[in-house]
């Protein structure tokens, strides 16, 4: 009997944010990240019968997403190659470093920082997955998206006092979970 079962009905609610966060930290573009996440879910649906249940659904989806990200970079690099060919034949000397400047990483991040932030992000998302759905939604909207109380209340059709009760429960559960998995 497989250790893990597959159920695509809850993929979007449970994993879309985790996959999106994973992608955006690698491609640094919101639109491309959304497309890659969507492609991942579609590819997951198509290859559902290959899911053996040895790894969790999330791990399995991440392995598909990783391939999608690699494909994305391959595509970019092949375009870059074409651009380089064009640049080689360009006689304007001023444009020599154009491609390098475009490709250069604009963020001054060390690999260590990025890795630590990513592990911390994983720990937070793992704890979020354990919360009841409503608490997870409210926590994400309030804490990660940074939305105003009024906006969340309108979106979810709840009162501000109801929102703060949910926020309190979510924060308490998150802090407990993070204490077990990360803080200590």
């Amino acid at each position: 009997m497989p250790k893990h079962l597959i159920n695509p009905d809850h993929w979007i609610d449970r994993y879309s944010d985790y996959l999106f966060n994973f992608t955006i930290s690698r491609v640094s573009d919101r639109e491309i990240s959304k497309d890659l996440v969507q492609d991942t879910f579609f590819a997951g649906l198509k290859s559902m019968k290959n899911f053996k249940g040895e790894a969790s659904e999330r791990t399995w989806l991440i392995s598909i997403l990783k391939r999608k990200i690699i494909d994305h970079y391959r595509k970019i690099n092949s375009k870059k190659g074409q651009a380089e060919v064009r640049m080689t034949y360009n006689t304007n000397e001023d444009e020599g470093d154009w491609l390098e400047e475009r490709v250069a990483d604009p963020f001054d991040k060390t690999a260590q920082d990025t890795l630590e932030n990513e592990e911390l992000g994983d720990a937070i998302y793992s704890c979020l997955e354990k919360l009841p759905e409503k608490q997870a939604i409210v926590f994400k909207m309030k804490t990660i998206e940074g939305l105003e109380t009024e906006a969340i209340c309108n979106e979810l059709n709840i009162t501000p006092s109801n929102l703060w009760v949910i926020v309190h429960r979510a924060r308490t559960a998150m802090a407990e979970c993070m204490e077990k998995t990360w803080f200590n």
Partner: protein
């Protein structure tokens, strides 16, 4: 009455502390929280744990989809799922 004006319950302290994580607590509320923080060990523990959680989320620079984006992906996915089930 005066005592009630100055001192708050632990439940109120938790509520103010939660609001303070999102800069939604007023100066007066923060003062009342600090008064309780000074003498109540449980409040101190709650504030510290709550702040630690906020710092972690901030440090991790997490991203997530907004509601519209999630709805859009879900709608597309549901279409695909229906096709597959046929």
């Amino acid at each position: 009455m005066k005592k009630r004006f100055l001192f708050i319950s632990f439940k109120e302290a938790q509520h103010i502390c939660d609001k303070a994580q999102y800069d939604e607590a007023t100066g007066w509320e923060k003062t009342k929280l600090m008064m309780r923080y000074a003498w109540c060990r449980i409040t101190r523990a709650y504030v510290q744990r709550n702040s630690k959680l906020s710092d972690s989320v901030k440090t991790s620079k997490l991203n997530c989809l907004n509601a519209t984006e999630r709805h859009h992906i879900k709608a597309q996915f549901d279409k695909e799922l229906t096709k597959q089930e046929r």
